[in-house]
């Protein structure tokens, strides 16, 4: 497969995953905000920004709807939902002959919906429309993932789509946990306004994990279990462990297909991260510096990304000719 094609499929997938994550974060927090006093809004939205990596283009002005509008529609901000969808579609357009017609239809329709003349910024200031719109985007991304899995050959191209999706998801989940860390694990007694339950639920919902968590632990929410579930659960698609397991599976499949002789560093990097998540317990993690632990995971995701590029996409011609 052409390196450029792998690159485009990877980013198409990452951008969509990013759009979905931002969408859910906004949706969940807009909803929970209605249940609390206005004074605590400040903290909530600062935390949303932290979970998105504190983008420097985005300013918190004190108005949640203003922030929602920026994170959704501002094309100046490359991480906004609409920017992500535009970028995903642009990547797909470059590799149209590589993806299925059904994939293209789904993504192209989403793009036409969100860039169409019917959506206007000023309409989004009300309290009703944003939620409806965010729901639509989430559903469309889910449909795209379903259509990808059921209509595209699960060959190398599909594996690169998986890699993009899961590396983005792993990094975003680690960042999300980091954003919540102060409130939930380092000083839980401070949130003494009786709203802990709402916050914990908010965290789980931000990772689509509330229902799945309840199936395992019942609706009895405790910070330790939440951390355990989002970090280490083997079966839940948004847990870090699941994301890294899937990532590793796809990397192995790509490795097999491309048969590059020097793929060892990548195997080692991803394998180490996978092993650490497979064989850790939440008690051990809580005994150490949790923030440092979560940041280390983000760093490792970055290293995996760079190594994928060095191996498959952006390798030096000299090295390739020699090898």
């Amino acid at each position: 497969m052409l390196s450029r094609v792998a690159d485009s499929l990877y980013w198409m997938s990452r951008y969509l995953e990013r759009a979905e994550h931002t969408t859910r974060l906004l949706d969940v927090n807009l909803n929970l905000m209605l249940d609390e006093s206005e004074s605590s809004a400040e903290k909530r939205w600062q935390r949303v920004l932290q979970a998105l990596g504190n983008p420097k283009e985005v300013e918190w002005t004190g108005d949640p709807y203003e922030l929602t509008r920026t994170l959704t529609f501002d094309t100046q901000y490359k991480g906004s939902i609409i920017s992500c969808i535009i970028s995903a579609r642009e990547n797909a357009r470059h590799v149209r002959e590589q993806i299925s017609t059904e994939q293209w239809h789904r993504l192209n329709s989403l793009y036409l919906e969100v860039t169409g003349p019917n959506l206007r910024f000023d309409k989004m200031t009300g309290t009703e429309q944003p939620t409806e719109f965010l729901q639509q985007v989430m559903e469309a991304v889910h449909q795209f993932q379903g259509v990808s899995d059921s209509t595209m050959s699960h060959g190398e191209g599909w594996q690169f789509i998986q890699v993009g999706r899961y590396i983005e998801r792993a990094a975003a989940t680690a960042l999300l946990l980091e954003a919540y860390h102060e409130d939930l694990w380092s000083a839980p007694e401070v949130t003494g306004d009786g709203n802990e339950y709402l916050e914990w639920m908010g965290l789980l919902r931000s990772a689509t994990a509330f229902e799945a968590y309840c199936k395992v632990y019942t609706a009895d929410l405790t910070p330790d279990r939440i951390l355990e579930f989002l970090l280490l659960d083997e079966e839940f698609p948004h847990s870090l462990r699941f994301a890294i397991d899937s990532l590793q599976r796809s990397l192995i499949a790509i490795d097999k297909e491309s048969a590059i002789s020097h793929a060892e560093p990548l195997r080692r990097l991803a394998g180490r991260l996978q092993a650490s998540l497979s064989y850790s317990s939440v008690d051990e993690i809580l005994k150490q510096d949790v923030i440092a632990y979560l940041q280390a995971i983000q760093t490792q995701c970055g290293e995996i990304h760079n190594t994928i590029y060095e191996l498959y996409v952006d390798y030096s011609i000299q090295a390739a000719l020699a090898g």
Binding site: M1, L2, R4, H105, S258, A320, L321
Partner: protein, 488 residues
């Protein structure tokens, strides 16, 4: 069945169908059809009005959903539009097609011999059949090609020749497109949509298939592989997603099962071309390029091009990679050279041309120039290097000022222009609103030349959808229709 005693014009769908002096593809005269159009017209007029519209919408939707679009330049970046599609097929009889096929085979054979000759011995120039100045002053002439051997002596592997029908029904050549002719994907998708929308009509007609075009193209490309590369890697080189024909590039690559590459995917090393893949560099043997000469290698040609591959020309010169079409083929589709093609055919093949040229005045010849300048109101003047309907004067429709402006341009640079009589080429029935109306059409068959000549029966019929217009280019509001060649 229709008979000459029941004029078709009585049908409400035909109430605005007017014949003029142009050849009509469907009607022989006001009350007589060309017999091969009888079942078609019968079928169409038997459909209820809204049924025709329903099928038309279904066809349009199918094009839109499949993303069969072309990119319109200017205005917003990358506006995508569907190529207007007309529901009524254009029908060509097997006898008519046989002539066209022989004529095109003769023409591409002679043009390939011509290119080999002018880039090597230059005998036709020595013998004074084609003046040296015409060849050497051509912008598409590539000095770099002189003395170079191309595989199997094939310069033009893919050719799209534009034909029109004169008032007497004879097919003549309007121009040859020898560089990167496009439109074949519309020919193929038009057929697919047609088969889906009118299966029964289609079935009753014995239409010759065209589906094998992509396989024939692949076979042609494979036959041009460099020596010692029995399992060649073939790629299609596209300028990328902003090119107006990107849909076609992606379509053909997918249908042939070859990689669609852009310049940035290719690298050259030691005169070998490679593509960057996830498994490392992979050698490339044959490039079906849809990028013009000028842009293909910034080292050899335009240094500011970002579409090409540095060093590609040297790899080509070294014989390590084949390009289809070869560099420098554009010299043979220069509009001034076009006038010499009949002589070129006689010179190399000692045969009379089967397909005639449209009469063409060369403005470098004083006698012809004087005639043209005196008769600008009757003629069409074209700039030799332009395409897509740009740089044209249609004399009878132009203002005095426009004609004077062209006269000045001609006098300043006679080599840059040719003139032709205004030809009212044939018209075919099209669905306009709820009615059938005649519109001017041309025909672009696609000729493949490798170890043999292959022409799939038919081609792209382009339609000037505006009433009275003679311009069929998609960039100027033209459309297309399916072209049926009958097997008996």
């Amino acid at each position: 069945m229709t008979s000459s005693t029941s004029p078709q014009f009585g049908h409400p769908a035909l109430k605005n169908y007017k014949l003029d002096h142009a050849y009509d593809e469907m009607f022989q005269s006001a009350d007589e059809l060309h017999s091969h159009y009888e079942p078609l017209l019968e079928h169409f007029t038997s459909l209820p009005e809204n049924e025709l519209q329903r099928r038309k919408q279904s066809a349009d939707l199918s094009f839109l959903n499949q993303g069969i679009t072309f990119t319109v330049y200017g205005r917003e970046e990358g506006t995508e539009r569907i190529f207007p599609y007309d529901l009524l097929p254009r029908i060509i009889t097997s006898a008519e097609w046989a002539t066209v096929e022989r004529g095109l085979t003769q023409r591409i054979t002679a043009l390939n011999l011509f290119l080999k000759d002018i880039y090597n011995e230059g005998k036709i120039l020595d013998d004074g059949i084609v003046p040296r100045e015409v060849v050497y002053s051509c912008k598409q002439f590539r000095r770099q090609m002189i003395g170079l051997q191309v595989p199997r002596n094939v310069y033009i592997a893919v050719c799209g020749t534009d034909l029109i029908r004169l008032e007497n029904g004879e097919f003549v050549v309007l121009e040859d497109n020898l560089r990167v002719p496009s439109g074949v994907s519309y020919m193929l998708t038009n057929r697919r949509v047609m088969k889906r929308i009118f299966p029964q009509l289609f079935r009753g007609y014995n239409v010759r298939p065209i589906e094998h075009y992509t396989q024939a193209l692949l076979g042609t490309l494979r036959s041009l592989a460099p020596e010692g590369r029995p399992e060649p890697n073939i790629v299609l080189l596209s300028p990328g997603v902003f090119n107006s024909a990107y849909f076609e590039h992606a379509y053909l690559a997918r249908q042939m099962g070859i990689e669609l590459v852009e310049g940035r995917d290719l690298v050259t090393h030691d005169n070998i071309v490679y593509m960057r893949t996830t498994s490392g560099l992979r050698r490339v043997d044959v490039i079906y390029r849809r990028v013009d000469d000028d842009f293909i290698d910034p080292l050899a040609f335009r240094a500011d091009s970002i579409l090409g591959v540095s060093g590609l020309f040297n790899a080509y010169r070294a014989g390590n990679v084949t390009l289809a079409n070869a560099f420098g083929t554009g010299v043979a589709d220069d509009k001034a050279l076009y006038a010499y093609v009949p002589d070129i055919i006689k010179y190399y093949l000692t045969e009379e041309p089967i397909l005639k040229n449209v009469e063409t005045y060369l403005l470098t010849k004083p006698k012809e120039r004087n005639y043209v300048l005196a008769n600008l109101d009757k003629l069409v003047v074209k700039a030799v290097g332009e395409s897509g309907g740009y740089g044209m004067l249609i004399g009878p429709q132009a203002s005095v000022a426009e004609r004077e402006e062209f006269a000045r341009k001609i006098e300043a640079d006679p080599r840059n222009y040719i003139a032709q009589p205004t030809i009212s080429f044939s018209r075919a029935p099209c669905l306009i609103g709820d009615e059938l109306q005649p519109r001017h059409v041309d025909l672009r068959p696609y000729v493949l030349y490798g170890d043999k000549v292959t022409i799939v029966p038919g081609g792209l019929t382009r339609v000037a959808l505006k009433d009275g217009s003679l311009v069929v280019n998609s960039s100027q509001g033209g459309g297309s229709k399916d072209t049926w060649v009958l097997s008996q």
